[in-house]
Subunit: 243 residues, 4 copies
C-alpha cells in the first residue's frame, strides 16, 4: 500500500482514482496512478510530496478508528513473549478497529491466519473496511460473540482484549494447540486477579502478568532526558500456556 508524506512529515492515505489535495496544494490523480515508493511528486503550489510504501504502523495511524487502539509496545511484547511467527494461526477478540489483527496478520503472513471476533456491528464494519483497504487477505473479521464459542482449532495464539476475558477460559483452552498461548490485555488489576485464578484452575501453565512502562527519551542539543510527559499505564499483559 502506498501513502503520501508532505514536506512537514504529515502522512495521507493515497485514495486511488482521486486527486490529492491539502492546504499545500493539489496533485492530479493521473500523476498518482503510476507513482512508486521513493518518488517525489509536487503539488501545484510546488510543495514536495513523497510516495512511501506503508507498513502496518503507517496505515494504522491513518485508518478509521472509532475506538482506542493498543500501543505497539504492548503488541510487540505479545508477539515476542508468545513467539508468534510466520505461518501461525491466531484468534483475537474484540477486534475494535482491527489494529492488533493487522499487526498479527503482518507477522503470520499468507500462510498464517487471523480470526478476529467483534460483538459490535459498527466496529466489525470499520475493521473489515480497514483490512480490505490495507490489502491483507489472511484476516477474517466476524461479527460474533467469542463467548458463544471459538470456531478455530489448533490455534497458536489467542489474544483477548475484553472487559471480562476470564469468561471463556475453557473454550480458549480447547481451541489452543499444545504449546499454544493465551495473551490477555486488561487495564484493571481486578481483571488480572480473576483471570489468574481461573487460568490456574483450568490447567494452564506458565501463567504470568507483566506491565510495560515505556519511556521516550528527548535527545536535543539542550540536553538529554526522559520526556516530561508520558503514558502512565495502558494495560496489564497476562500470559498462560497450554502445555
Amino acid at each position: 500500500m502506498r501513502i503520501l508524506m508532505d514536506d512537514r512529515g504529515k502522512k495521507y492515505i493515497l485514495d486511488e482514482g482521486q486527486d490529492f489535495h491539502n492546504d499545500l496544494g493539489i496533485i492530479k490523480k493521473e500523476e498518482l496512478e503510476n507513482c512508486v515508493p521513493g518518488d517525489i511528486l509536487k503539488t501545484h503550489k510546488e510543495h514536495e510530496v513523497k510516495v512511501i510504501q506503508a507498513n502496518v504502523n503507517d496505515f494504522i495511524e491513518l485508518m478509521e478508528r472509532k475506538c482506542s487502539i493498543l500501543l505497539p509496545k504492548d503488541i510487540g511484547i505479545v508477539i515476542a513473549y508468545t513467539g508468534l511467527g510466520c505461518g501461525d494461526k491466531v484468534v483475537d477478540a474484540g477486534t475494535g478497529a482491527g489494529a492488533i489483527a493487522l499487526h498479527f496478520a503482518n507477522v503470520v503472513g499468507k500462510e498464517g491466519e487471523v480470526h478476529s471476533y467483534e460483538i459490535r456491528e459498527d466496529f466489525t464494519k470499520i475493521a473489515q473496511k480497514n483490512v480490505k483497504q490495507f490489502g491483507f487477505d489472511n484476516i477474517t473479521i466476524k461479527n460474533q460473540d467469542i463467548k458463544e464459542g471459538i470456531d478455530e482449532e489448533e490455534v497458536d495464539l489467542i489474544f483477548l482484549d475484553l472487559p471480562k476475558p476470564y469468561e471463556m477460559m475453557e473454550s480458549v483452552f480447547d481451541a489452543l494447540k499444545s504449546g499454544g498461548w493465551l495473551a490477555v490485555y486488561a487495564p484493571y488489576i481486578e481483571q488480572v486477579q480473576i483471570l489468574n485464578r481461573i487460568a490456574k484452575k483450568i490447567g494452564f501453565n506458565e501463567i504470568n502478568t507483566i506491565e510495560c512502562i515505556l519511556r521516550e527519551m528527548e535527545v536535543k542539543s539542550k540536553g538529554t532526558r526522559p520526556k516530561t510527559r508520558m503514558v502512565g499505564h495502558t494495560g496489564y499483559l497476562s500470559f498462560a500456556r497450554k502445555l
Copy 2:
C-alpha cells in the same frame, strides 16, 4: 522442533538418536523417535515427561549461548515499532548466540531472509550451530565485520547491537529500502546521543529513542503486587527511518 518437559516444568532439548536421562530417570531413544507434541512419556522411574512443540523462546532458553542475549521485551518492541512482517529482509549485527536472528527469522518466515554479521569466530560458530539445530534455513550467519560493508540491498530492517553502532550509518542508510528502519540497542546514553546526531546528519527521519521498563506482577492468594526485584535497565532502543 520437539522438546521435553519433566513434571517439575524443566525443559530439555530432545537429542535425536540418544536416550534421555536426568535425575528422574531414563527414556529410551526408540521411544523418543516417534513421539509427537502432546505425548506424555514415562521414565523408567515412572516420572511423566511431556513432548512439546518448541517455539523460538523455548529453544533460545535451552540453546548454547556464551553471551548475554536480548530480552523478549526489547525484541518485541523492535518488531512492533518497525512493523516487521512475514517476507521481510533483515540484517543484524552482532549475532552473539543468534537469539535475535532466531526471533527475526521466526517472523519473516521462509519467504523472508535474515543476514547476521558477527565479528567473533567463536560466536559465529555457536550461532550457526543454534540456527541449524532449531531448523531455520532463512538465516545466514556471517563471520564478517559489518563495518566493512553491508552486502544486502533493499533491506526492511537493520538491527544493530554493537558498541559503536554509529560507525556505519552511511552504509546502513544505503542498504535500507525506502521506508525501511534502523533499530539500535545500546545500553549507554552516550551511544544514543552520538547515534541521534549522526542519524540526523545522514538524512534519517522519524528518529527516536525509547526505553522499556518491564514490571512483573506477583498474583498470589497472599496479595497482588509488582515483584520486589526487577531488571532496572537493559538498553535504550533507538529507531531511525529512511524516508
Copy 3:
C-alpha cells in the same frame, strides 16, 4: 496560617481584613477575623466554607509563583536521603518562588536556618513575599549569585537547582560541615555527568544519582490501575557528601 476550603474542595488564602468572595457567595471580614481551624462558616448563599490550618503544601499550592516548582516527591527524597532534621542549617539556590525553601524551613524549624540565593530580582521579591505571608522567620532570601560565594559556614545541606550546578563545587565543599550533604536537582543527564566528575575530583564521597518515578494509582469501583497519564520526568537528583 489559616486557609479556607469551599464545599467543592477548592482552597483559598484567607486575606486578613478583607471579605471573602467567590462564585458561591460572600463571607464578611468580621466573621473571618476570629475563626479557628475546624470552624465551618457559611456564605450568604448558604454554601459551607471550612477553616483549615494550612500546612506548607496547602500554601505552596496557593501562593504566587511565576516559575515551575519542585514536586514533593523530589523534595521528600532530598530530605530523607540527607537526613535533614530539626535545627539544621540549609543553603539553597536558586530560590524561584521559594517552594523548596519553605519545605526546608518547615523541617529545620525555629532553631534551624535556611539561606536561599536567587539571581533574579523579580523572583527574589516573590519569594520574600511568600515567606512573609506564610509566616516563617527562619528563611533569608538573598538577591545574590551563589557563584560569587557562599556566606554561610558549617552547613548541613546545600541544595542546588541551577542550570550549571557544577560551577561552584569548591565553595560548596568549603561551606559544608563535615558529614554535610550537597543535593542537586538537574533535568538533563549531561548536567549529572559533569557534576559527578567534578564532585569526585574535589573530594566528595558517597556520590550518587537517582531518579524518582512516581505513579499515582486510580482506585475506583470500576477497578484499580495506575493512572493513564503521568509525569514522565522532572529531574535527576544527585547527592555528594563531605566526609
Copy 4:
C-alpha cells in the same frame, strides 16, 4: 552521635568506653574518648579511621534490626506529602526496629513528639535500645496494640505499616487534628483497595495512593545508564486527610 569510618568507607558505631578493633587494627578507648567529628585517627597498623557526626541514615544503617525497614524514598515522600515539620506530633505503628520513628523524630525535633506502637515485645526492646543509643528523647516506644486505641490527641501525622491498616480507621480519624494526615505503607494492592473504601466511608478527604519507583543511575567513564538491577516494588503509599 559519633561514628567511625575506615579507609574503605565502612562505618562503625563508636562504642564509648571500649577499644575499636577490626581487621585493619586497633584504636585505644582513651584515644576515642575525646575525638570530635572531622578527626582522623590511626589504628596500630597505620590505617586511617575518620570520626563522623552520624546523621539518622548513618545510624539506621548500623543499628540492630531484626526486620526489614522502610527505604528513604518512601519515608521522604511521606514527609513531603504530609508537610511534616519541626514541632509536629506523630503516631506510628508498627515500630519494627524504629527506623521510621527515628526519621520522624529527626524532623519534628525537641518540640515535637513521636509515639510509636509495636505489638511484639522483642521489636519493642530493639527499637527502645536503638532510640536510646542514637540519643533521641522525643520518641516513646510502646509495646501496645494500636488496634486497642490511640492514646494521643490532635496528632499531625499517623503513619501505619501494618498488615491490616484499615482496621483502626475510626480511632485514627479521632486522634488526628483537623488538617492532619494519615499515611499508610502497604505492599499489596488489596490492602490499598480496602483502605480507600473505608477511608472514604469514615469521612477522610484528599485520599490518594501513589507508588515511588526509584532508579539509580550509573555514571562511569564507560558510560551512563540506569543501574541494571533495581528494587521493583516496596509498597504503595496511601494518604488521607482529616479536613
